[in-house]
């Protein structure tokens, strides 16, 4: 699309050959692209679940960016490439590892293991089912592959907590901010004190 707009401006002889309808359509498409780019790069002013879109040129599709809180890394753990190099030998068969023993996988552990989400070669990224790499700041796309309806609700603001302004900018939380990806089930909380019985109010 950009290539065509660019070549349109440069090559005047092409202009003569195209019909007017096509030109109008192209101009509209170009305008849309410009608008979307501005929306993606400009300040995030959401009113509801509409957000800026960016082009994922590798897959030739658009994906939506959300203003999320930073990923809840443990201290000193990121970037993972401090320890894991891109050319390290990797055992791709699911097995118990010696390090990271504080992590207990309790998330469909019968069928899944670490490298189903963490990329084997680039440990600073996660990977989707088709192999595409994504940042930890977009981990919701990964969760959404299995938890599709939840992702849909999360984008709409129904699932999970959003802080900010009901009438303006909102801040999302990543899935991982509330649900530990290794053991996502909520731990029970201690409730705050019950109200006083009315007989006790003096």
């Amino acid at each position: 699309m950009f290539f065509r707009v660019g070549s349109l401006a440069r090559n005047r002889s092409m202009w003569g050959r195209m019909t007017r309808m096509r030109a109008v359509r192209l101009a509209a498409a170009g305008g849309w692209a410009a608008l979307l780019l501005t929306a993606a790069c400009g300040p995030v002013q959401e009113k509801g679940p509409r957000f800026g879109n960016v082009v994922d040129s590798a897959a030739k599709t658009t994906v939506t960016l959300f203003p999320v809180a930073p990923p809840p890394f443990s201290d000193g753990i990121f970037p993972c490439s401090q320890c894991h190099g891109p050319t390290d030998k990797v055992n791709r068969t699911p097995h118990v590892v010696d390090f990271h023993s504080e992590i207990v996988l309790h998330h469909d552990e019968k069928n899944r293991w670490c490298l189903d989400c963490h990329d084997a070669r680039n440990r600073d990224k996660l990977h989707l089912a088709d192999g595409r790499l994504i940042d930890f700041t977009e981990s919701y796309r990964l969760c959404g592959q299995c938890h599709g309806p939840t992702l849909r609700n999360w984008k709409a603001g129904e699932h999970g907590k959003r802080t900010g302004s009901w009438s303006g900018a909102k801040q999302y939380l990543l899935c991982a901010s509330c649900h530990s990806p290794h053991s996502p089930h909520f731990k029970p909380l201690k409730p705050k004190a019950p109200p006083l019985r009315q007989e006790a109010i003096r």
């Binding site: 019985r197 009315q198 007989e199 109010i201 003096r202």
Partner: protein, 409 residues
């Protein structure tokens, strides 16, 4: 004499009649009432200073003893009309002589009602907010606003008629029928309206299924008509003994008969309510369960009183229905006391508390009045009884004891 002289003469004269010339029992009674009032003033001062937290009312049961008494006394005030209707509408002479006392009872009752509302308010200093003109009265949607209007109008009518009649009798001038009769006729629908509007206060609330029943307004009227005259019947018998007060037996028996029918109707309506709740057996039954037994394994503090009220109602109904027991003074008086107690419990306790228990979210708070509430209520009753006693004393002296020929009022 000019009007001002006549009035000041009337005031001083009746004051003398009220406070002088009584016997030991009379002064002991006055002293008891004044003592009630004085101790209530101290109790109310405590309540005014600390707030309504000194009562046992809380968010779950936000109306209690005060409003229960208010509801009962509105009924007593409305019952004055039971005596007035036959006297004026049917021109039945044996009752005419006692209509004045019914009106005075209405005045004393309404004064007690207004006092109970005042002591129940969280901000009595802001009572002027409800006055039309200087305040902001929320008409026409607030039934409480309507109630404040009709109660005061009814009070005004009865006060005007009663004081005018006594004033004319004092000065031995004939009263102007053109003033009295229309006001008296108007007081009949007013009496029905004060109790109907008070009933609407409760049954308009969809949030309280125990009250949200169309039958509540007729029940109120029926129980009012059977309880109010009971007080008067006892009073007349006392007055007959201690003063020159005259009343035909015929009149007393007729009033008792009307009370029987009113109580019969009241029991019928109560039975209709019981059938509806127990047969339909919805969640709303919990309120009746609290009233008659208890909830969640705990006995209800009001269950005993509820059963007592029902028993007294049936016994007094039979006593008044059977002509022999109605005419015999002992059984009639027992019936009067029982009927009064029965309706007092029914309107005061059995109406208010189960409406709030369990509350809107199913929580149970077992309310019983606190000592402060009992003391203040005793004082309010003291004020009402004192007013009534003084008015009755004055009327009896003027009408029956002053001349050689008693003037039939």
């Amino acid at each position: 004499m000019s009007f001002i002289r006549k009035t000041s003469n009337f005031v001083t004269g009746t004051a003398r009649m009220a406070f002088l010339g009584g016997n030991k029992v009379y002064y002991a009674w006055l002293f008891l009432l004044v003592a009630c009032i004085v101790q209530a003033l101290f109790a109310y001062a405590h309540q005014y200073e600390r707030g309504l937290i000194s009562t046992n009312m809380r968010d779950s049961v936000s109306w209690g003893f005060y409003i229960g008494n208010f509801t009962f006394l509105v009924g007593v005030a409305a019952a004055a009309v039971l005596l007035v209707i036959p006297a004026y509408v049917y021109d039945w002479k044996p009752i005419k002589e006692v209509a004045l006392f019914g009106e005075m009872l209405a005045v004393a009752s309404i004064v007690m009602c207004l006092l109970f509302v005042l002591v129940d308010m969280g901000r009595p200093d802001r009572f002027w907010h409800i006055l039309p003109g200087i305040g902001h009265m929320h008409m026409p949607s607030s039934i409480m606003a309507w109630d404040s209007i009709v109660l005061n109008v009814y009070l005004a009518i009865n006060l005007i008629v009663a004081s005018y009649l006594v004033y004319c009798a004092y000065h031995r001038i004939p009263y102007n029928k053109k003033i009295v009769v229309p006001l008296v006729i108007f007081s009949i629908p007013m009496a029905v309206s004060i109790h109907t509007v008070t009933a609407f206060l409760y049954n308009g609330m969809a949030s309280r299924p125990y009250w949200n029943s169309a039958i509540l307004a007729p029940r109120f009227i029926a129980s009012a008509f059977c309880s109010g005259p009971a007080l008067l019947l006892i009073l007349f018998q006392i007055l007959r003994k201690v003063s020159a007060f005259e009343i035909k037996d015929e009149a007393i028996h007729k009033v008792a008969e009307l009370m029987a029918y009113a109580m019969g109707f009241n029991l019928f309506l109560f039975g209709a309510e019981i059938f509806r709740e127990y047969y339909s057996n919805t969640h709303h039954l919990v309120h009746y369960e609290y009233l008659f037994s208890g909830l969640h394994g705990k006995a209800s503090p009001i269950a005993l009183y509820a059963w007592m009220s029902l028993a007294f109602a049936i016994i007094s109904f039979l006593l008044f229905l059977i002509p022999r027991t109605r005419r015999m003074p002992l059984t009639m008086n027992i019936g009067c006391v029982l009927i009064y107690l029965s309706v007092y419990i029914e309107k005061g306790i059995a109406l208010i508390i189960p409406g709030f228990t369990p509350d809107q979210l199913g929580q149970v708070y077992a309310y019983v009045p606190s000592m402060i509430e009992l003391r203040v209520a005793a004082g309010v009753f003291g004020v009402g009884f004192l007013l009534f006693t003084l008015m009755v004393k004055v009327s009896v002296v003027i009408l029956f004891e002053r001349d050689d020929q008693p003037v039939h009022a």
